[in-house]
Every structure is written in structure tokens, then in C-alpha cells.
């Protein structure tokens, strides 16, 4: 009998607030170590936390987006454990009274089937700092810039049955938080991190023992890590072994995972309500005012892309699920005036380039305006698609706009029928042998013989002749010779 995989996710999303959750320090990524750490972030004695209202707003936005209950009273608790990157030696988090209660999202799989994934709750908490293990000669450095960055931790029910479903769910959450503008979604900077709880069982049986693979920060790693762990668990059980409840770490470079600690070694976190932070009571009016300002959510946007732009549901999903991608597409489509062509270039060349350069759309070297400039020159026939690739390369590598690249590199397409006719005549005049062959050939073979002439004409025009016009004129002239 087949094995069934059961997966639940815990997702940490860094909230895009300007300052930290309990201090005024900046949350900007990439600053010099410890330059964004105040006395509070260092847990100096006597310092006290003051909650950042924006973090609550963002968490409530998320709750509304997943159709969840918003807790009218939420409470911060202290989760106690010692670690050098946790300055207070407790993390301020929510346990018994989280801000966001049960909710749900819908995922769509490759075959078009839809499935609802339930979300158990989502809570606010603070991020820890980072330990730096290099360059300190047997010691560790601590960078507290990240300490106190607000996080929303989203905890799903164990509703997923495959790595595909888990990745679809993770992508859906990514799409929701970026669409809401509450998280920048930069996975490579740790803005979203996934902990995956995995167990296997025979269908219909009780849940098996689960393991938790922590801190996956890309969809690819998540997919690989799940497959690896599922395989490990099945092999283990089929060999007569037992899965032990443990926390595991997956290394994306070596594609291997190892046990970090077992349940027996787990900490007793001694949670209790934080006496420095009073329970926060949220009123209905406050929630309603946030609901009114909620931006367009991915599902609604994809629907709109289908009706407004006539995109296929596949294209609508590719362009509409990520907020930055959607913004890029809509800006470029509006500027270029050709929706379909814009969509094709974004999903084709641009996505491929971004992928291989490991860049997100937000960091695309090519702006939506630049792309639109090029697309509109294809649309109005100034350049061919083939020449457009050269323009694209030019903009990607050196910047600038399409028009000046077309001008500088002389890529303008020749659509003057007189000029093309002259080139066709010249090629025909210089190709007696090929013209004879064409004349004597069987009619069915003639189309294949056009290639030679087209090639010569394009060569003569340095690739600038409008290929469609070349084809038409050439065919007419050759037929006249028959």
C-alpha cells in the first residue's frame, strides 16, 4: 500500500515596518553589524519594550486576508532560553492569546485542482540576532541588527499531502504578504523562512511521528528537503525502524539533512505573560478601518487580469500572484500598449534572465518602463523580435532605453517596400543558379527553397529588413519568374 505524506508549515515572515517591534531602531537589511541595535535591543538593564502599532496593523491585515478571527485581546509572553543572539534570554512572542485566530487559504496545483489549507493561528513575535562564526578565531561574533525585527509566525494545520502542495501553500502565503505590502518577501535575505513538519502514514491511519525541518529559505530547498525527509522516513519504517520526533536541519548546498535535537533534548521554554507589556485590546472600529484599506489580494487580482487583460488563467497566475510581478506587468502593459506581447516578454526572456541571475522582479536590472519601451517598438514594427533580443541585452547589461539602443546600434527595421524590392531584385539577379533550381523544382519543394533567398536578403540588409515584407515581396517576384 502507498504511503501518505502529511505536512504542516510554520512560516516566519518579517514585517516591513520601518522600526523594530519594541524599539525605535531601524530594520533595514544589510547594515554594518550592531549599528541598528539600541540599548533595548542589547537588553541593557532597565530598558523596557514599547510595542510598534504598525506591527499590529500588519498582523491584522494578514488575518483579514486569510479570513481569520482577529483576537480582541492579545497577549505577549516570554519564551525563555539562553542563546547569545537572544539578548534578553527570552523571546517576546504570543502563545495562549495570539493576534490572529483560525483562518484559511486556497491553493491551486499544477493540474488546476484547488485545495483549502487551514491556518491554525498567526502570532506576532520578535526576531533574534545572528551569530557570526567566521573571522573571530575560535569565538563567535554577535550581530544584533536583526534582533527585535517584527515577525508574524503563521502556523498551518497539517493539511498538505505532498511537497507540491506545501510549496504551493508557501508561494500563496508569499503572494499574500507581498500583495498586502506587509513583508518584502525577500527570501534570500531571510524575510520569509519556513519550518516544515513532516510525517508519513498509511492512508486512514493515525498521524505518524513528525519531524521538523527548520529554517528553509527558498521554495526549491523546501521542495528538496521535503522529498528527502519523506524518503528517509519511509525507508526507516520499511526497514523496521521508527521515526523519532526531532528537529532537523537541511543544507541546501549539500542537499543533506541532519538531526539538530530530539524531543528529549528540547527546551522547557517556561512561557509566561510578559509583565512589561499589557494585554492589547483591539476594537471593532480599528479592524474595520484596516479592512477598508486592504489592498487587492492575489486571488482577486488574478481574476481581474483574466477579465481586464484577457490573460489565460495560467498567465494571470504567473503574473498576478506576486505583488511586485503584478505591478511590473501592469506598468509595462500600460506603457507599451500591448498586453499580450508584454506578458510574453516578462514570462519568457525576463523571467529566464532573472532566474539565472538569481534576482527577484523587484531587483530587475530592467525596469518596467524600459521593457515597455522595447515592446512598443516591436508592436509598431520598428524592430523585429530577433532584434529585440539585442535591444534587451543592451538594456540589461548597460541600461538605457530601447529607442537610443535601436538608434545607436542601427537596429531599425527596414519596412520601406521600395528598398526591400531593390534588395530582392539584386539577390535574384545574383542568384541565377538558385533561380533556375527554383523554377525547375516541384511545386511542393519550392517553399523550402526560399530560405536561401531570405538569408541573402537579410544579410544584405544587415538583418534590418522586415522579414514579413521580405517574404511577401520575394514570393511575388519569384512567382513572376515562373
Amino acid at each position: 500500500m502507498e504511503w501518505e505524506t502529511v505536512i504542516g508549515l510554520e512560516v516566519h515572515a518579517q514585517l516591513a515596518t520601518k522600526s523594530k517591534i519594541f524599539s525605535g531602531s531601524s530594520t533595514t537589511f544589510g547594515a554594518e553589524p550592531n549599528t541598528q541595535a539600541s540599548a533595548l535591543d542589547l537588553a541593557m538593564p532597565g530598558t523596557l519594550p514599547v510595542p510598534n502599532e504598525q506591527a499590529y496593523r500588519y498582523a491584522i491585515m494578514f488575518g483579514l486576508a486569510i479570513d481569520a478571527d482577529i483576537a480582541r485581546t492579545s497577549v505577549f509572553e516570554r519564551k525563555n532560553y539562553f542563546y547569545p543572539d537572544l539578548p534578553k534570554a527570552y523571546q517576546t512572542t504570543q502563545l495562549e492569546k495570539p493576534i490572529v485566530g483560525p483562518g484559511h487559504v486556497e491553493i491551486e496545483l499544477a493540474d488546476g485542482t484547488k485545495k483549502t489549507i487551514r491556518i491554525h493561528h498567526a502570532h506576532l513575535e520578535e526576531d533574534a540576532g545572528k551569530s557570526l562564526h567566521e573571522d573571530f578565531h575560535g569565538m563567535s561574533g554577535i550581530d544584533l541588527n536583526r534582533a527585535g525585527t517584527p515577525l508574524v509566525e503563521i502556523v498551518s494545520e497539517p493539511d498538505m499531502r505532498s511537497s507540491e502542495e506545501a510549496v504551493a501553500f508557501a508561494k500563496k502565503l508569499h503572494s499574500i504578504v507581498t500583495s498586502l505590502g506587509i513583508c518584502d518577501g525577500e527570501m534570500s535575505q531571510g524575510s520569509m523562512r519556513f519550518d516544515v513538519n513532516i510525517s508519513v502514514r498509511k492512508p486512514g491511519e493515525e498521524l505518524g511521528t513528525r519531524t521538523e525541518t527548520k529554517n528553509l529559505n527558498s521554495f526549491r530547498f523546501m521542495e528538496d528537503a521535503i522529498k528527502l525527509e519523506v524518503e528517509r522516513q519511509i525507508d526507516l519504517i520499511e526497514d523496521g525502524g521508527k521515526v523519532i520526533q526531532e528537529t532537523r536541519l537541511y543544507n541546501g548546498d549539500t542537499k543533506q539533512a541532519r538531526s539538530m535535537r530530539s524531543k528529549e533534548e528540547a527546551n522547557d521554554y517556561r512561557y509566561f505573560p510578559c509583565p512589561d507589556l499589557l494585554p492589547v485590546v483591539i476594537e471593532d472600529d480599528y479592524i474595520e478601518s484596516i479592512r477598508k484599506e486592504l489592498p487587492e489580494l492575489p486571488d482577486a487580482r488574478q481574476e481581474r487580469f483574466i477579465t481586464q487583460y484577457g490573460l489565460s488563467s495560467y498567465d494571470a497566475s504567473a503574473l498576478g500572484s506576486d505583488a511586485n510581478m503584478a505591478l511590473y506587468f501592469e506598468t509595462a502593459a500600460k506603457d507599451s500598449g500591448d498586453t499580450k506581447l508584454t506578458a510574453n516578454w516578462i514570462m519568457g526572456e525576463l523571467s529566464a534572465r532573472l532566474n539565472s541571475a538569481d534576482l527577484s522582479i523587484k531587483h530587475s536590472p530592467l525596469s518596467a518602463e524600459q521593457l515597455a519601451g522595447m515592446v512598443s517598438r516591436i508592436a509598431d514594427g520598428t524592430i523585429s523580435s530577433k532584434m529585440a533580443k539585442q535591444v534587451f541585452d543592451g538594456m540589461w547589461n548597460n541600461g538605457g532605453d530601447a529607442d537610443s539602443i535601436i538608434e545607436d546600434q542601427g537596429l531599425k527595421q527596414v519596412s520601406d517596400s521600395g528598398a526591400i524590392e531593390a534588395m530582392v531584385d539584386e539577390v535574384i539577379a545574383n542568384s541565377d543558379k538558385q533561380v533556375d533550381n527554383f523554377r525547375n523544382a516541384d511545386e511542393s519543394k519550392r517553399p523550402k527553397m526560399l530560405g536561401y533567398f531570405v538569408g541573402q536578403i537579410m544579410k544584405a540588409s544587415k538583418g534590418q529588413a522586415n522579414p514579413q515584407q521580405v517574404n511577401e515581396i520575394l514570393l511575388k517576384k519569384l512567382n513572376d519568374l515562373l
Binding site: A39, L42, N80, F82, R270, F272, D276
Partner: protein, 494 residues
């Protein structure tokens, strides 16, 4: 100006003297610094004396006054309990752990006094991390009670109390988590007030038990406490538990008559364990207040007996988390040559904390552990609500509640050292008000064997004005607060 008169002045009198030009801030500051230098060897009430910065502050204050824009405490010397962070001045909290800790910021209380122009003589001794009722747990050695140097000054604000009793400061800041202002005030024969929770900012005040800690003033008179509270109390956006409520002028009602005042006398505060001499002194005080027109109403606070046990779950639980940050990583003590992280944590904390602090961290961690949380922490919180309700019910019937501050006068060093529970019972009458978040104060009301006795006045929420009014009226009619211990004269003055 005769020196011996200068250090007998109350804060109100110092302000008047500075205003009248009888003496300058530099003169009175120098006088206090000289006294501290000569006399504090005997009492050990200061951990750090700020000789240079105090004189600089005094000079600045005199200049400010000369320019005619003197704020309320301009040039008045005071001391801060060494639990309040002082920018650039070592703040030890009475612990080896913070012996080398110099904060880069001021506590809000310190800032408030700086803005009011006060001169800071130094940082006063205290039980380590405010955990103790005798000042014996200080890393810097015990403070001696100026009334009898073989006895304790009380704790944890024993340094502030003894400094005032020995006239080494006219007033000092202090903190009270379970009685740490009121009990030492009682044992040293001075006046001290713990305000309503949230009245005084906790920002920069090193946390012991966050839901119970509250800063307050200590001085020789109720009037001085009112003047100090005017400066200390503030709404502070940096403290989420600070309450946004207007700060009244606490001196306004001092002279109101007590005619018609209803004083609740809790039966439970006069049961076994109370020293008969203490009981008599308190009853005499109540009789005096009756004479002034107050009515005594017998009341019951039925959950009084549960206060100490509930407190010794909640306070250590919070402390166990609050003190976790002292891990040797970023500041404070770190052990020599740690062989790894675990070794660094363990030795740093083993070396840096004293016995009582360790005991409470262990108790607190235990109470919060998986499987014990419901039986201890959750239960204690339920008890806390019952205790609060006792007071809410009582204040339906009375204006203030009174009784003894501590069960007996100052005891000898070491006499309770081996029995932590006996020490914990020192705070049996004071702890409940912290659990309820109510204000409480202690004022001198007599002596037993030449040892001071304190009268405790508990008020309703934010009713500090009325408590100060009661204490002031009592002090106008009695002379207990004016008595000073022997041996306070400087060598040269003899």
C-alpha cells in the same frame, strides 16, 4: 551657616534656604559630601559617591538660580538607589554581576530629577537586585542601621533609608517590590512612599519583578516625600505600564483636616507574629489620628495570609526571566577563560550572583516549568486577583487602611540569615499592596527599645495625595520623625 543645622534641614527647608540665599548648593553639597566621607564608613549606605559630578551639578544649579530660573529641586542634594541607571555612573544594583556596568542612559526618574535641578550625591547601597529585607545580600556589604549599628536597616532600599536617617542625604529615591521602601523606612525611622503601580516610570530602573516594582521617594517627612513625588511621578511613553494620568501637586492637600477620615484597620494585621511594642506604637498613632477627627473602622482583608506565598511565586518567576539577560555576553561580569558557551553561562552566573538571587531564580524557574505552571504561577495569579478584590471591597468602606509596616523593629545581623522564610515574613504587611498595585507608605510612629517603628498607610489607587495628607497631619502633631540617632556629628564639630 552652621553646618550642624544644614544637614538637619528637610528638603522643604533646603529649598527655602537656597531661595533665601542662606546658603548655596555648592555649600550644602560640600557639606553632605564631607559627612558621607567621614560617617559612611560606619553605615556603608553609599556604593558610589559622585564627588566631582555632584559639585559640578551644584555649581550649575547655583548659576541657574542666580539667573532667576530655578526649577523645583534646583541645587537640592539627593541620592539615587543604585537600581536606577545613571548615564556615565556605575550602576551595580548591589551585585557583582554589574560591578563594572556603566549605563549609557539615565533612568526616567534620574532624568526627572536632573530636569528639576537636583544634585546627585551618589548611589545608595541595596540588597542585590533588590532581593532582600535586611540589606545583607548586597555585594558591597551590609548597610548598618544608624539607630543601632548591630541591626539591619531593612531592605532592599536600606542604603537610601540609612543615608537619610544618618543625615547623609535629605532624600533619596528607592524602589518597592514587596516592601522595599516601606520596611527600611520603618526600621530607620524615616518616611517613604511606594506610589500606585504605573505612577512612576520604570524605564531605566533595573527590573526585579516587573509587575510589582515601583519607584518612590524616601525622606524624613511626608512633606518632603510629596515634593519628591512631584518630580518623580510622570507618564512615560517609554514604559508601557506607565499610566497616562495627570500628576497632581502632591503638596496641595497636605494641610487638609483629617476630620471625617475613615481609617480601615485590618484585623489580619494585628494577629500573631506582631511585636507587642510595635503594636502599641501603631495603636497610639491611630488614637492620635482619632483625636484629629478620623474614625477607625475594623475591616477584614481575608486573603492576607496568601499574600506572601503568592508573592514568592510571582516575584521569583518574573525575576528568573528578568535576570536571564545577565549572561556575560554583552556587559557586566564574565568569567575568566570560558572553555565554551555553556561554561561561560554557568560560571558567569555562578560567580556574578549571590545566594539569595540564585535561590529566587531557581524558585522562579521551577514555578514556570512545564507541569508546575498551573499549580504555582497560574494559582498565584488567581490569588493575586483575590487579594486585589479584598482591597477593592475595603475601599468601598474606608478612605485609607492602616497598620504596622513590619511585624517588629530592626533585627540583628545574621539573625534571619539561615531561614529565608523568616526573612520573607518581614514583608507580610507590605506585600499585598504590591500584588494589588496600590500605593503604600510608612511614617515613623514610635520606638521600641530605641528602635523606630513605622506606621503603614495604604491608599486607594492614585490616592497618594490623601496618604501624604494623613502622614503630614500626623507629623504636625507628633515628633517621631524629628528624632535622630546618636553619633551623627562630624569629628570637627564635636
Amino acid at each position: 551657616m552652621n553646618d550642624s543645622i544644614m544637614h538637619n534641614k528637610t528638603i522643604a527647608e533646603i529649598i527655602a534656604g537656597l531661595e533665601a540665599g542662606e546658603f548655596t548648593s555648592v555649600e550644602i553639597t560640600q557639606h553632605y559630601l564631607k559627612r558621607i566621607k567621614q560617617l559612611d564608613r560606619k553605615y556603608n549606605s553609599y556604593i558610589t559617591v559622585n564627588e566631582t559630578s555632584a559639585l559640578a551639578q551644584a555649581e550649575a544649579a547655583d548659576q541657574r538660580r542666580a539667573k532667576g530660573n530655578a526649577p523645583a529641586f534646583c541645587g537640592v542634594p539627593i541620592a539615587h538607589k543604585d537600581i536606577f541607571c545613571t548615564n556615565g555612573i556605575r550602576t551595580s544594583c548591589g551585585s557583582k554581576m554589574l560591578d563594572n556596568f556603566v549605563p549609557p542612559y539615565d533612568a526616567t526618574v534620574v532624568e526627572n530629577f536632573a530636569n528639576a535641578g537636583a544634585v546627585v550625591l551618589g548611589k545608595t547601597n541595596m540588597d542585590e537586585f533588590a532581593m532582600g529585607s535586611s540589606n545583607e545580600t548586597s555585594f558591597y556589604g551590609p548597610v548598618k542601621n544608624p539607630w543601632n549599628i548591630n541591626t539591619v536597616p531593612g531592605g532592599s532600599s536600606g542604603g537610601s533609608a540609612a543615608a537619610i536617617a544618618a543625615h547623609l542625604a535629605p532624600g533619596a529615591t528607592a524602589t518597592d517590590t514587596g516592601g522595599s521602601i516601606r520596611q527600611p523606612a520603618a526600621l530607620c525611622g524615616i518616611t517613604g512612599l511606594k506610589p500606585t503601580y504605573g505612577r512612576v516610570s520604570r524605564w531605566g530602573m533595573i527590573a526585579f519583578a516587573s509587575s510589582l516594582d515601583q519607584g518612590g521617594p524616601m525622606a524624613r517627612t511626608a512633606e518632603d516625600c510629596a515634593l519628591m513625588l512631584n518630580v518623580m511621578a510622570s507618564f512615560d511613553p517609554k514604559d508601557s505600564t506607565s499610566i497616562d494620568r495627570e500628576v497632581p501637586d502632591y503638596t496641595t492637600n497636605l494641610n487638609q483636616s483629617l476630620n471625617g477620615l475613615k481609617i480601615g484597620i485590618p484585623r489580619e494585621y494585628f494577629e500573631e507574629g506582631l511585636n507587642p511594642g510595635t503594636e502599641q506604637a501603631v495603636k497610639n498613632a491611630l488614637a492620635e489620628l482619632e483625636k484629629q477627627g478620623a474614625t477607625l473602622v475594623s475591616i477584614s482583608l481575608p486573603h492576607t495570609k496568601l499574600a506572601v506565598p503568592a508573592y514568592y511565586v510571582i516575584a521569583p518567576a518574573e525575576a528568573s526571566a528578568n535576570l536571564s539577560r545577565f549572561d556575560g555576553v554583552r556587559y557586566g561580569h564574565r568569567c575568566e577563560d570560558p572553555k565554551d558557551l555553556r561554561d561561560m553561562y554557568m560560571r558567569t552566573r555562578a560567580e556574578g550572583f549571590g545566594e539569595e538571587v540564585k535561590r529566587r531564580i531557581l524558585v522562579g524557574a521551577y514555578c514556570l516549568s512545564a507541569g508546575y505552571y498551573d499549580a504555582y504561577y497560574r494559582k498565584a495569579q488567581q490569588v493575586r486577583r483575590l487579594i486585589k478584590q479584598d482591597f477593592v471591597d475595603a475601599f468601598e468602606k474606608v478612605d485609607v487602611i492602616m497598620g504596622p509596616t513590619s511585624p517588629s523593629p530592626a533585627f540583628e545581623f545574621g539573625s534571619k540569615g539561615s531561614d529565608p522564610v523568616a526573612m520573607y515574613l518581614e514583608d507580610i504587611y507590605t506585600i499585598a499592596t504590591n500584588l494589588a498595585g496600590l500605593p503604600g507608605m510608612s511614617a515613623p510612629c514610635g520606638f521600641v527599645d530605641n528602635k523606630p517603628v513605622g506606621l503603614q498607610i495604604i491608599g486607594n489607587y492614585f490616592d497618594e495625595s490623601r496618604m501624604l495628607n494623613v502622614a503630614h497631619q500626623f507629623q504636625l502633631a507628633t515628633g517621631w520623625h524629628k528624632r535622630s540617632p546618636e553619633g551623627l556629628e562630624l569629628e570637627e564639630a564635636k
